[in-house]
């Protein structure tokens, strides 16, 4: 395997929002990871875990409250206006909701061409040709350029969103839950398209989702987030086969599998309780309220990611001991 080049490095990233007097929503609270060129990094987690905020901060849509996002070695939060505009050509995003991600008043052609227009990449006939090319790339027809978003289905709109992101030839695309709102067979269409495009255009993806099966399928490595923290990080097959963090284990067990026999035999790890709010979180491990293994230390000290197996990181005070006690749970 050729030496992997780091495209993005996220160091102790924090993104907080003020949601009232003395109420700070700590959406992302100290996250570290690297993304290699050409790979797909997946991030999974449930509502409130901060994965979407993380994605948007990494590609520059939000400004980080603290920490660094190094894109090709350069901290994107320290760019000036002009550099920022140049940077937008390198990192793009695909949104979750196909219904609100396209301006209802613009034609599909103009939506896709917006990036081209902003950066003045092509004009006139060339621009038209480029737009047609993009439409066909995502599996739509040339005629669709004159139509309006409301005439398309969810899956088609999502593909228009992908075409829009690709128009300015980015290197890196954040896919923010791009398939959650779609039907099952359409999800497969979109995922296949994303994989195909990655190979064709040599793209790097940050794939954010709550559907673990889909994330595992498309990602090379996966990080699990819970309430603003990254709790586990490993190669996707390894994560599925050997989850080490109590939360990851519960998440795996909760995924409904479309296979009646397996479902019957599955050991159900019941996770009690609700997901707490990310506003003004208490110190210590965030998972403490729902964790059956929690100790005093867990309430006081926030665990950091430790490499417990090669390329497999876990943020849990007890993970090592649990791993040794139950080697294959």
């Amino acid at each position: 395997m050729d030496k992997k080049e780091v495209l993005i490095e996220v160091k102790d990233l924090k993104k907080y929002f003020q949601v009232g007097r003395n109420q700070t929503l700590k959406a992302v609270d100290g996250v570290n990871f690297k993304i290699y060129k050409g790979e797909t990094l997946g991030i999974v987690g449930e509502s409130g875990c901060g994965k979407t905020t993380c994605g948007k901060t990494v590609m520059g849509l939000y400004k980080a409250t603290d920490g660094e996002v190094l894109f090709d070695g350069v901290d994107i939060n320290k760019l000036n206006k002009k550099e920022k505009k140049e940077f937008t050509k390198r990192a793009q995003i695909i949104f979750q909701d196909p219904y609100s991600s396209l301006n209802p008043r613009m034609t599909v052609g103009d939506i896709i061409g917006e990036g081209i227009d902003i950066h003045k990449l092509y004009t006139g006939k060339e621009r038209q040709e480029k737009i047609y090319e993009l439409l066909e790339l995502v599996g739509l027809n040339r005629e669709h350029a004159l139509r309006f978003p409301h005439e398309f289905s969810g899956g088609q709109r999502q593909r228009i969103g992908i075409a829009r992101a690709l128009a300015i030839e980015p290197e890196f695309i954040v896919c923010d839950e791009p398939i959650s709102a779609l039907d099952v067979s359409i999800q497969a269409q979109v995922v296949n398209l994303l994989i195909e495009l990655q190979q064709k255009k040599n793209l790097t993806y940050l794939f954010i989702a709550h559907d673990l099966s889909m994330v595992k399928h498309i990602s090379d490595r996966v990080g699990v987030m819970y309430l603003g923290n990254m709790v586990e990080f490993a190669e996707s097959d390894e994560l599925y086969q050997n989850p080490l963090h109590p939360y990851t284990k519960a998440l795996m067990a909760a995924i409904p599998i479309p296979d009646p026999d397996t479902e019957e035999q599955k050991k159900r790890i019941r996770l009690e309780g609700e997901i707490p709010s990310p506003v003004n979180p208490k110190p210590g491990c965030r998972f403490v309220t729902r964790c059956r293994y929690a100790t005093e230390k867990c309430h006081q000290e926030t665990p950091q990611l430790e490499e417990l197996k090669p390329e497999h990181f876990v943020a849990c005070h007890r993970a090592k001991e649990l791993m040794e006690d139950h080697p294959q749970e």
Binding site: D183, S213, I255
Partner: protein, 341 residues
């Protein structure tokens, strides 16, 4: 076999739209027995939600057209012919429904306790205090912690999972015979989804309640359903018991659905099987099999004539020309073409 409590016969539902008449449900039949769980599976626009709402008579009168000959027989009585008053006494007490979005299904200006009690008071002549007491029991039954305190709270103070539990409490307060659950967990997180499905399963057993589960999530179906029917473009294309559908499905669409879901225990990163195209326009539904434009095994006959019914067992049957003896069955997935009954 337990008694049959619901029989849907030739249900046809259409809607008047500016572009014409949209034939959302084009003639479906099914039965439901006491205590049974029937899953209606399909993608958006296939007509599954419309069918379930039609049973409850919850479709808007102004632009809905239901065929005269359609029947929804609940214990032998046709619900489609009942008056609104009669339906009011059935809804909530004999047949209940829970919806996908718990945020909009609860009244934001009423306390949770009152909403549960309301559903009890509509159907039974008991005092307010008694209704409130039963409402509290329901809330405890759906495992909401601190139920007494929660009774006095408003929906906005509940999380998504808790609201769904509250909705279940309201729906089950009068111990209905049938629960129609329309995508009950689609909007919830995975761990909460697991909790809710488990809860519904337990309550179902306790109350010996039948359930119609409408969903597109095959994973959820695998763990709770007894029978499954797969809908596409307003028609049922295949039905069977849960193992028949998952392990021996006979319709290309069912197969496509099963193949589109990545198997978490597989380690290959092959492209997922994906269907091309989108479901057909229901204003001008195609003449032959509606799945033909997207079916890689399609034949000329598929585009011309709607496939006849083929039975494989007491429970499994499908509508597909591939089971005709003259069909071209080369390269079909294994065990799709089998001996017929």
């Amino acid at each position: 076999m337990k008694e049959k409590i619901l029989e849907v016969k030739n249900l046809e539902v259409s809607f008047k739209t500016y572009a014409g008449i949209s034939h959302a449900v084009r003639g479906i039949d099914f039965d439901l027995h006491k205590g049974e769980t029937l899953a209606i599976v399909g993608e958006s626009g296939c007509g599954k939600t419309v069918s379930s709402k039609a049973i409850m008579r919850l479709l808007p009168e102004s632009n809905t057209l239901i065929n005269e000959n359609s029947e929804v027989l609940f214990h032998g009585e046709d619900l489609l012919k009942k008056s609104e008053n009669e339906m009011v006494s059935i809804r909530g007490s004999k047949i209940s429904m829970i919806f996908q979005d718990p945020m909009t299904s609860l009244n934001p200006t009423m306390k949770i306790g009152d909403q549960i009690a309301e559903s009890i008071l509509i159907h039974r002549k008991i005092s307010k205090e008694e209704a409130y007491k039963e409402a509290l029991e329901m809330l405890q039954l759906v495992k909401i912690p601190n139920a007494e305190k929660r009774m006095k709270q408003y929906p906005f103070e509940f999380s998504g999972g808790m609201r769904q539990r509250a909705m279940i409490a309201i729906a089950l307060a009068c111990k209905p015979e049938i629960l129609i659950a329309d995508e009950p967990t689609t909007a919830l997180d995975v761990t909460i989804q697991a909790q809710i499905m488990e809860l519904i399963g337990e309550l179902q057993k306790e109350l010996d309640m039948a359930m119609i589960l409408v969903t597109h999530d095959l994973g959820v179906v695998a763990s709770v359903a007894d029978k499954i029917q797969v809908m596409y473009a307003g028609k049922i294309v295949e039905r069977g018991d849960v193992r028949e559908i998952f392990y021996q499905s006979t319709h290309p669409y069912t197969r496509a659905l099963l193949d589109s879901v990545p198997k978490i225990h597989s380690t290959n990163k092959e492209t997922l099987y994906s269907l091309k195209g989108t479901p057909p326009d229901l204003i001008n539904p195609p003449v032959g099999c509606s799945f033909a434009p997207r079916c890689e095994y399609g034949m000329n006959i598929c585009r011309k004539k709607y496939p006849e019914l083929t039975k494989f067992s007491d429970t499994q049957e499908c509508n597909c020309w591939l089971h005709d003896p003259r069909a071209d069955v080369s390269n079909l997935p294994e065990n799709m073409i089998r001996r017929r009954q």
